[in-house]
Assembly symmetry: C3
Homo-oligomer: 473 residues x 3
């Protein structure tokens, strides 16, 4: 029989007893604060329907989580065996007990990874699993989770309340009619779930689905988007609609943070090329770069906080992309340059305190070289927390190490969980709060800040910074 | 009433008791050694005039220090409100009590930053301020500093002696007549203040002020600089003059460390284009790259140590530059490549032990990849300490971590404070000595070096390396 | 008289007593496990001849080790004074006592470097030297080592057995007839020494010695390599021969990891240009990039593990290269990009679990940005240990820190010593095992893995991963 596990109360803290004691003190101060979740990818549908059910343990924990199945795939386990649907509808493993068994047998692969830490916490704290998952106990634990999932207290709204979530932002395409968000608001349920305006499908004219997105945008706006002027109008209208539905922010992904300003004539010309499918050369890059500047302008007008996430080479693995689609764990980072790429946008709007532009990176070399110096100067700039592959214990430590001395804590925006995996949210915030408590305790034991300052700092990292930066007051 | 603070005697040391004990031992060994300041930007005027006064606390501590006001600006506080002069002479805040109040109210922004650590030390140690600066005690502390500044013991020469500075190098344009340095030497005062030869304004033909600089160089040399040959002659003359005034080093800033050798004919052609204002394309980059090689040649001749500081994109924020001028906290680093860029210079002079070329970087990715391997091979190369944004507790730790194993301690040159803020000099050296003591103690507790070696190493990092590398024997 | 030294039993462990205790426990578990050496540059000749002698202490320890003499050279000590042979046969220092004296007087340069740690261990453990090497005791220690080297137990085969080496792979050119490997196999000696297939001289058509290598390849194959088809045939034949001689792997160096697929016609055309000496422009890069893909294809066929080591700018110092030849400590890293460069190879073979492609880097910026995300996804990819300048205590720590959370331990391949310096092998493995034990202990004290997992992990890092990845079962 497997040994019972417990989550160590001092987990993730450095071993020095004095630092650990202070870290524990700081952590306790914020451990039960509400969770502010300003950026993520949870499906709002689960809150629109009060009776929404999560399906099997594999449906809930494994199949939607590319962090997990990419690791299994890297060891030669086909995605079909993990129940990931193929685009062409060919059969994949449908026995979720078998899928779960494979996962459990390979759970050792996650040793030392954030996914392993989150899962261990989540299984223990949300589902009461007090054994280390393995091939031996896989089916027993499957049963245990399955039983939980039938209970009313495992409906998403109930978990939302149990998790003490103060606000949860989803991410939604510019042409999304936000029917689930509307349903949530109309349902009378008090949970605060808000959309985020993401216009990537509209501003990137080189996407295969761009034409389709433009048509869909026209439909949701009620007029055809047949000119650049109409496009700008449509973006402004949709931003207003998102804001009316509770949004406080926009989100922009781009291959690079290249920005450049076009004249209206140039922008119109490229847009017409794009409609005809004849855009070429640098057109797409320049158009996207221009629309980043335009969105900054709109943000100054409507107050929506602007987020920028560059640097991911999407769908690097063609075979997986063609067989299974996007978001299957095969997006790979590339080197990114911010200093020169952002200069046109910053020269135009970087000095305007009404703009909040939050920058993210998966190229850590930019932390101390570019991002911290930029954020420590421009009033409009703030830095987002460590993103994606760097949303981890060591990744957070490196971020604090390389960013804080130059940017200062108050040019950063606290934590976000950026997750599709709803029940992992408390685990993710808990890890971040512990790592931050440990970091601040490290400053205290080195005589860099005193305990009074430390107590204010942990409140801000755990709660205040995110709430203020994303205007959730 | 605010609580009294003290500077913790074990500040900046790691918390492990054994490491801390050794760090304390090593630090004590060098805590009162004289300060060697081979690179910085203190104004020599303050030592030329024995009665020089610093002005108000804001004049002394805030207005000249872009590390400080960039952080305040990043939070939306206009530079005008901080008393920073506008180029067009329009009025800015002239009540320095108000400026100081804003600074004090926002002093929490500097938590965990080197600026915060230096200021806390400086206020405590130089001015006897034993409270944490805040909005509440701002005016009281302003009074306290103001009173100090009227005292004779707060004249720059007296502080120079109190700080136990053995030598202080300033940085001076190639065409600077060095009147203050001459006055210092002629005054009979024993403080060693020496110039550093910085020909950037002369060798970068694409600077807006280049023509003016060339004319000024001609004036100070007594002949018109109308040919490349004359330029070389003028540089050699000025180097000789600087050397006669005590200089032991030159300093070179460049956007990149690109070097390339031109024939005399090519150099002359580009120089004539520059005089006519028709230099174009790659001319400026090649000319600068060539003059870096020429300066290395001159260094072999006259023995002046050569320093190279590439990688800063100057005046990134056009609005601030146009309104307030240079050095206003809006220089932002860019990625830098050394391996190939320096090859022409190193092939020509890198094997010559008579040359000392000290490299600096603000792109930390080059530490382990390029700079340490280069310095661990070429006799002419040494590495400067962590520069600018990286002159910080964590920045120094990363530098030691990434450089020392490959370059070895003896291919580095100790610490320099690189500051305009004269009264912060002891705080900066103290932080560096503590961080180095802690680093070496970390080697001792890991059994990597023994205590005998450690004691030699701390002497070298705190004093010997800088003194020998910059030839201050 | 110099003080006696001992190697601290807890060396290289972090100072926290709890972490140190666990690290010690984990280290003890693997301290005496056999050494698996899957990648290195030891000369197989020393095992072919049972009576092979190492020569003088300088012959053994200094002259073949560019890690050592590059550091001495960086401080202005000419290579001639260290007994390094000049290509033109001009005399160099031949009195090895004098060479040794210089080395000993400058041994302090190696403080805190891996070379210093390895040498200290090696002198103590292999030769019984229990004093810190210095100018004073240089000749006494020279005598002590010289005496040892005359003893039968210091023949290479005896040391191989004493070191408990389970398998040692050498690195051998594609056209090498492997006479020493054959002699070893035919000698009846049980030591497992195997070749590694390295076709760099053949696939890089821009090397000065390419024509010569192609002729040599033709000779060893028994037919002229006059077409691309013949080249492919020859490579396949040689791989088969290497495999028959015990090889389990191939090794590929390249300036960049650029890959691209050529048609047979394009490949043939470039090959014919190369034979005529008229290859130009991008030909060499594309041909090499194509042959990397071809070698991946061959690996799927014959099962040889493929290693790729990009990013070293060879022979950066022209003077040293022309005077002393290759591998003289003047290879300098350059920035490397993997995400896009490897895409053609990975799209073709990255999903094939029959391929094992082990990637190395000396550009650490790629750890968290590119290599860990790639290895955490593609079934064919694994990551090699920290390479060259990063094969060090801090380098290993950074690797674990930046790689493990995303790639997971099981997409890495354990340690290799990559050395020419045969008697340093135990010291290198010992350091790696200690650093790994300390890393895993750090996970335990932070509650990230439990002791049961930790014990499995240290077995894998010290032994199992290398053995399995390189198919030494």
């Amino acid at each position: 029989m497997a040994e019972k596990i417990e989550l160590p109360v001092d987990r993730y803290f450095d071993p020095d007893p004095k630092q650990k004691e202070i870290a524990q003190h700081l952590y306790q101060q914020v451990a039960s604060k509400p969770l502010v979740c300003p950026h993520g990818h949870v499906d709002p549908k689960m809150f629109a329907d009060p009776d929404y059910q999560f399906g099997t343990p594999a449906d809930l924990l494994l199949i939607p989580d590319h962090y997990i199945f990419r690791m299994l795939y890297s060891q030669g386990i086909e995605l079909e065996r993990l129940g990931i649907q193929r685009l062409n509808g060919e059969p994949v493993e449908s026995d979720h007990r078998k899928v779960w068994q494979i996962f459990a047998e390979n759970f050792y692969l996650f040793r030392g990874t954030p996914t392993g830490m989150w899962l261990t916490h989540e299984l223990y704290d949300v589902f009461g699993v007090d054994e280390k998952l393995s091939g031996d106990n896989a089916q027993k634990i499957y049963d245990q989770i399955s039983v939980s999932l039938t209970q009313p207290e495992f409906r998403p709204r109930r978990l939302f309340e149990r998790f003490n979530i103060e606000v949860l932002a989803t991410t939604d395409a510019a042409n999304d009619p936000l029917v689930h968000h509307r349903a949530i608001r109309e349902s009378g349920w008090k949970g605060r779930v808000v959309p985020t305006f993401r216009p990537d499908g509209i501003v990137n004219i080189d996407r295969p689905d761009w034409g389709e997105n433009i048509r869909a945008l026209g439909e949701v706006c009620g007029y055809e988007i047949n000119s650049y002027r109409r496009l700008i109008e449509a973006l402004e209208n949709r931003r207003a609609y998102f804001k009316a539905m509770g949004a406080t922010a926009t989100d922009h992904a781009a291959l690079t943070p290249f920005t450049c300003e076009l004249s209206n004539e140039e922008a119109e010309t490229i847009f017409q090329y794009a409609l005809k499918g004849t855009a070429a050369g640098d057109d797409a890059r320049r158009f996207t770069g221009h629309l980043l500047i335009e969105n900054a302008r709109m943000s100054i007008g409507d107050g929506l906080v602007m987020q920028l996430h560059p640097g991911s080479h999407r769908n690097h693995n063609q075979l997986i992309y063609e067989r299974f689609g996007t978001d299957k764990g095969c997006d790979i980072p590339i080197p990114v340059e911010y200093t020169r790429n952002l200069m046109p946008l910053l020269r135009k709007y970087g000095n305007d305190s009404r703009l909040t532009l939050i920058l993210f990176t998966i190229d850590e070399t930019t932390y101390s070289r570019e991002l911290a110096p930029l954020a420590g100067h421009y009033p409009a700039l703030k830095l987002g927390p460590p993103w994606w592959f760097n949303d981890s214990l060591n990744g957070m430590r490196r971020y604090r190490d390389e960013v804080m001395e130059t940017a200062g804590l108050y040019n950063t925006v606290g934590f976000n969980d950026d997750t599709r995996a709803f029940p992992s949210i408390p685990a993710r915030h808990d890890l971040a709060r512990r790592v931050d408590a440990n970091w601040i305790a490290g400053l205290v034991v080195r005589g860099i800040v005193d305990l009074e300052d430390a107590e204010e700092m942990i409140d801000d990292t755990a709660y205040g910074l995110a709430k203020r930066a994303y205007k959730f007051e």
